[in-house]
């Protein structure tokens, strides 16, 4: 996509052209937010807000730069505002671990790079490559939001078995994503 040309059309009043920009960048913005949010369900709300703000500030955008990192930085700013309102201050081990985790995630997924977006794009392909029973387990837990208790009852498995299976499946997905990403980089 010729981003500069599309942005020029948007600044000329073509809102539908902005939709093309959003489609181009939505996975990277959503992924950038998702890895940082404890409440992943807020991802789309905040992403929408970020794209709306980016539209309103489009005149300030330097067309010589990439649109993606700019709108991701707006999204992170929106997310920080959201968290300031929503997230209670806490004490104790859980909150300390949470803060350490936030710092590690920030380090692993800097906004100026699209690492999380690349993972999200490869994720759907890696899911399709999984064997059906494994994919079904992932779908139950993450797409249908079933609890571990519900999954163990429906599959007739022990709680610890379900927990460890999910852990191994996540590792398998991660290996697939890393392999595909390195193949893309090499090519």
């Amino acid at each position: 996509m010729d981003q500069a040309a599309v942005i020029s059309k948007v600044l000329g009043g073509d809102i539908d052209a902005y939709g093309e920009l959003v489609r181009e960048c939505q996975s990277s913005v959503r992924a950038c937010l998702a890895v940082r949010l404890h409440d992943v369900s807020a991802t789309d709300d905040i992403a929408q807000e970020a794209f709306i703000i980016a539209f309103r500030k489009l005149k300030e955008f330097d067309p010589g730069k990439e649109f993606g990192p700019w709108v991701r930085s707006i999204a992170i700013h929106c997310m920080q505002n959201h968290l300031r309102k929503k997230r209670p201050l806490g004490v104790g081990d859980a909150d300390l671990l949470s803060r350490m985790l936030d710092a590690q995630l920030e380090k692993d997924h800097p906004a100026e790079k699209d690492g999380a977006g690349e993972q999200l794009r490869q994720l759907s392909i890696c899911l399709e490559k999984m064997a059906p029973p494994q994919r079904a387990l992932i779908e139950k837990r993450y797409f249908q939001n079933e609890s571990i208790a519900s999954i163990k009852e429906s599959l007739g498995l022990a709680h610890s078995t379900v927990t460890m299976r999910l852990h191994r499946l996540r590792e398998e997905l991660r290996r697939c994503i890393e392999q595909r990403s390195s193949e893309r980089t090499a090519s």
Partner: protein, 526 residues
């Protein structure tokens, strides 16, 4: 990474609380934190990736709306100011706007079938005054799946396929996990669960509530603190950190706070929950009386009756008493109104007496009209009312005159004692459209001010600063009952009377929806 560390990470992501152990491991070995972060990131991407986002379409639609839309009330009042005479048909601009809104709504649903979920578990059966927060319209009969729903002040009622009725009161954010599980991030909900739905669960940030055959209410605050009040039957309640659930019976309540690991008994307050929203009576036309006050002069104002006797609604303008006890020489004044002419009541006893007895008992009703009152002027006790002046037996609408009962100048429904008072002060010298809606009583015929009434101002659901718990049983056939009076209270002419302007009064025998109230506001017929 050894097996113990892997197991800790797996259990933490499964929802068990392993924070202390993991912290210890992270301190010993930074690779544990890195591995945990990789698992957490992937898990979050899996959750975010579920379903196909239609983000671009939502953004474009919202931007287009911002460019072309304007607040509904402003559009209505601008239009009404420009109207030269009475219209009895739907104004063309309103019909065009409604058609466009309908087409956009259908277009939305066509563009995003994923929003209704795939699979779906429930159907929206009633909606009341819910502003669209997600750029995704809610509509009756829409099927609902797993996508989160966020609503502003108002109500959405869903019926699950197995029969459970879930009434959600906004502001709220919730999602259906499957056919028997709901995640309520914040807001209020009441679940009425039939036998087929036993085991129905509501999960909040702080607690999990499992039905054992019951009706129960849940309130989740924005910080996640959760209260559970059992209206009927039993539930199990478990704090998210607890391994065991505790049983809660009828008229029992608990508060659960997972940050502070608190799970404590509180006083049951089942009256704070609206338990059911009637499904739209699409096949039942409203019957009503309408006073347009367009005579412009004379001592009589006539009512137009649709399904009701208009002659009974004929109003005679009555003067008040002078301060020296003598009779004033005229009653309410004819003045320019929102549409045509209106009446001004001087607060010195001016009123209109009709022969209309009013709507009786716990029967559903809507009273809607335009009102204007000036700032810093004394307020009387009733803009209009009817019934018998005894507890719960009178029906009076006013602008609140008592600061200790709520916002001064707020829209007020009083049933003496007992009142519902809106939060917005309407005494600002401008016309406001107000509506008071009462839903039908329960199966036993009882209706309560707190749970069966809604107030609207300028077409929007009005939050209330005060809503008493008081049974409504309007008595219109006693010896001391007064028929509809406009400008004075039902008890006595000698109490302060209403000072202000009233136009386009409707008394309807049905609980109107927001859309119908907005049609009245726009000068259309029902």
């Amino acid at each position: 990474m050894n097996n113990e560390q892997a197991s800790l990470i797996a259990r933490q992501l499964a929802g068990e609380s392993m924070a202390a152990e993991l912290l210890e491991q992270c301190r010993r070995d930074p690779a544990v934190l890195e591995e945990l972060a990789r698992h957490v990131a992937l898990e979050r991407l899996l959750k975010a990736g579920a379903g196909a986002p239609m983000l671009a379409e939502e953004v474009v639609a919202r931007l287009k709306y911002e460019q072309t839309g304007r607040p509904f009330a402003e559009a209505v009042t601008n239009r009404l100011r420009a109207m030269a005479g009475r219209r009895t048909s739907v104004p063309r601009w309103l019909a065009a706007a409604a058609t466009l809104a309908l087409l956009l709504g259908f277009g939305w649903l066509a563009l995003r079938p994923h929003w209704i979920g795939h699979p779906t578990f429930a159907r929206i059966v009633s909606i009341e005054s819910v502003p669209c927060l997600d750029a995704t319209p809610l509509a009756v009969d829409t099927r609902v799946g797993t996508r989160p729903i966020r609503i502003g002040p108002g109500f959405v009622q869903l019926r699950f396929d197995h029969g459970t009725l879930l009434l959600v009161e906004g502001p709220a954010r919730f999602s259906l996990r499957n056919g028997k599980e709901v995640r309520l991030e914040y807001g209020r909900a009441v679940a009425t669960v039939p036998l087929a739905g036993h085991g129905f669960r509501i999960e909040s940030p702080a607690a999990e509530i499992i039905d054992l055959g019951t009706r129960f209410g849940v309130e989740v605050r924005p910080d996640g603190e959760t209260e559970v009040h059992v209206l009927q039957g039993k539930v199990l309640v478990r704090g998210q950190w607890e391994l065991r659930a505790t049983e809660l019976g009828g008229a029992e309540a608990v508060r659960v706070n997972s940050r502070e690991k608190l799970h404590e008994t509180v006083a049951a307050d089942t009256d704070r929950f609206l338990t059911e929203l009637p499904e739209p009576e699409l096949d039942r036309p409203a019957r009503y009386l309408h006073w347009p006050f367009d005579e412009g002069g004379g001592g009589v104002c006539r009512a137009i009756g649709v399904g009701m006797d208009g002659a009974a609604g004929t109003g005679r303008l009555q003067p008040g008493l002078k301060r020296d006890g003598g009779e004033a020489d005229h009653g309410p004044d004819w003045v320019p109104g929102v549409l045509g002419s209106a009446l001004f009541f001087d607060g010195q006893g001016d009123h209109v007496e009709t022969g209309f007895p009013g709507i009786a008992g716990a029967a559903q009703r809507t009273v809607a009209f335009w009102v204007k009152a000036m700032p810093n002027e004394p307020l009387g006790f009733a803009a209009l009312g009817w019934g018998t002046f005894s507890p719960g037996n009178v029906w009076q609408i006013s602008l609140n005159p008592w600061a200790h009962e709520g916002t001064l100048g707020g829209l007020r429904l009083g049933i003496q004692p007992g009142e519902a008072v809106g939060r917005k002060n309407l005494c600002d010298g401008r016309w406001h459209h107000v509506a008071v809606v009462m839903y039908p009583g329960s199966e036993t015929g009882e209706a309560n001010l707190q749970t069966h009434t809604l107030l609207y101002v300028d077409g929007e659901l009005e939050p209330t600063s005060r809503k008493s718990f008081q049974r409504i049983q309007t008595l219109t056939d006693t010896q001391t009952a007064t028929p509809l009076m406009i400008g004075r209270s039902a008890d006595s002419l000698h109490t302060p009377t209403f000072r202000g302007f009233i136009d386009e009064l409707y008394v309807v025998d049905k609980a109107l929806r927001r859309e119908e109230i907005r049609r009245l506001m726009a000068g259309s017929i029902l």
